[in-house]
């Protein structure tokens, strides 16, 4: 007598404990983002309607969420900027002559110095909404993160192993394939490390940009940074302690849920023959690897990805006669 349903059927069901954990985890994160993101859209009409920051420790998770959301929005823009700017700078001798000195100058302009200018500008851009202050803060985080990432990516592209470049030319890979098969993988480890670093540096700027005074007017955006500023003004050591603890928890959470899986994943891009001496372990990454949903999703999206790949490859087909020696 067979059991019904048969064991094989049960095993084939696309959900196991990792999947359930994955679904629950994603739902919790999405719910939290929605709850926190609402706060960015409230009205802001100085001097009557200004968001207040209170020193109640129970508000800290919400403030931490606001700051973290800002960080990730900035990280997204930084990554997009890095890939485009770094690639263009590394590929065009002509653009390099302008872009790299420009990058030098841009990264040397002190972000915190011109906060007053950007805040005034962004408030004018989004009148009557807190989005202006929000954008100014995100812009400050962006400018603090992006140069380091761009330099790292550009440098990786400029120091690609010669033999791999020659192989790519030999196989006549398209510009897009060259990007996804050689350049991005080769730059990945450095890029992720620098992004993680810059992200860490970004906390400094989120804290500094949430509460600033311009033209003797105090602007404060709900977040961990403005909480600390209020705590300093009121000489409240207890509140500062809570803020430190919250910050520590947030950093550990972001590390466990985001950076660690990324670093563990990027280890496969190491360019060497002997086995990697050390690999980063990440329970989230293992969860994602064991769960079936991500693989099913990837399978379902494969045709779409393939056609996108082909389309972009056709757009960036290799030139019929690659000029010798100019690829270095």
């Amino acid at each position: 007598m067979q059991t019904f349903p048969t064991p094989e059927t049960l095993r084939r069901l696309p959900a196991g404990i990792p999947d359930i954990a994955l679904i629950l985890g994603s739902l919790v994160i999405l719910g939290f983002i929605a709850r926190v993101g609402e706060g960015a859209l409230v009205a802001f009409r100085p001097p009557e309607i200004i968001p207040q920051v209170v020193l109640d420790p129970w508000q800290l998770p919400y403030y931490a969420g606001r700051s973290t959301l800002r960080m990730f929005v900035a990280l997204f823009f930084s990554t997009v900027f890095t890939l485009i700017y770094g690639w263009v700078a590394a590929h065009s001798r002509w653009a390099e002559k302008i872009l790299i000195p420009l990058l030098d100058i841009l990264q040397s302009v002190p972000v915190l110095g011109f906060l007053s200018i950007t805040v005034t500008g962004f408030i004018a851009l989004f009148p009557g909404s807190l989005l202006g202050l929000e954008a100014a803060s995100i812009f400050a985080i962006f400018t603090s993160q992006v140069w380091n990432m761009t330099f790292s990516f550009y440098h990786s592209l400029r120091t690609l192993p010669q033999e791999l470049q020659e192989a790519v030319t030999l196989y006549r890979l398209s510009g897009w394939q060259r990007f996804t098969h050689l350049e991005l993988p080769a730059a990945m480890i450095g890029l992720i490390w620098n992004a993680m670093m810059s992200f860490g540096g970004g906390w400094f700027f989120v804290a500094a940009s949430e509460a600033i005074s311009v033209l003797n007017q105090e602007y404060s955006l709900p977040g961990l940074g403005s909480y600390v500023t209020v705590a300093i003004a009121q000489e409240d050591l207890g509140a500062l302690g809570w803020a430190l603890l919250t910050m520590a928890i947030v950093i550990v959470l972001v590390d466990q849920l985001f950076w660690r899986p990324l670093v563990a994943w990027s280890d496969k891009f190491r360019l060497e023959q002997s086995a990697a001496a050390s690999t980063m372990e990440s329970w989230v990454y293992e969860l994602l690897q064991t769960a079936r949903i991500p693989r099913l999703l990837a399978q379902a999206l494969r045709p779409l990805q393939d056609s996108l790949d082909q389309f972009l490859s056709r757009l960036t087909a290799p030139r019929p006669h690659p000029p010798s020696g100019s690829l270095v």
Partner: protein
Amino acid sequence: MLLVWIVHFVSTSLGLGEVLKTFALALLTLLRVSLLLVVASLIWTPIGVAIGFQPRLARALQPIVQFLASFPANFVFPFATLLFIRSHISLDWGSILLMALGSQWYILFNSIAGAQRIPTDLREMAAAMGLHGWQRWRQLIIPGIFSAWVTGAITASGGAWNASIVSEIVSWGSTTLQATGLGSYIAEATTQGDWPRITLGIAMMSLFVVGLNRLLWQRLYQLAETRYHL
């Protein structure tokens, strides 16, 4: 074009004396940044290389290093400020510590990344050839991590300049400590909304950082690309 406008704007509203004053202030801040870079490199490069080379040590220390690197230095500023107030340390020196709290990690991180990027094959060969001590540093480690270190040092110096704006003037309640430097000059001008001084301060700081890039970092980068290319 922009430069002409800045020069015109500043010279008509502030005069040459103010420019010379900010130049002197920038030299002071430069002194702080250089001291910070030298000390931070001496401390963190060996530690970073050690972490990058030893898998077991790296695994044990990495979470801690990552945590320290991510922790925003300005959350710790109030405690440091209290310490400075209690023990009567002048912020002229204290600000170096505050600036280092945020920027030293760039050197550590990049040293780790650089050390990890040295191929295991090369390290095994160096060990087989019996390289150790200073020889090992000169032949293997410094060439191996040089470009990563330069990237780290550039960013650390950039970060330190940036941090000087919030490090050279700190407060606790109603007490405010201030150091003499370009950072506190910009911070003060921002609070007062003094546009000519904000512009002059930022332009001077950018000028110093760009100048350093041209005179120092760019050359080191070239050295990394030509001589120490792995």
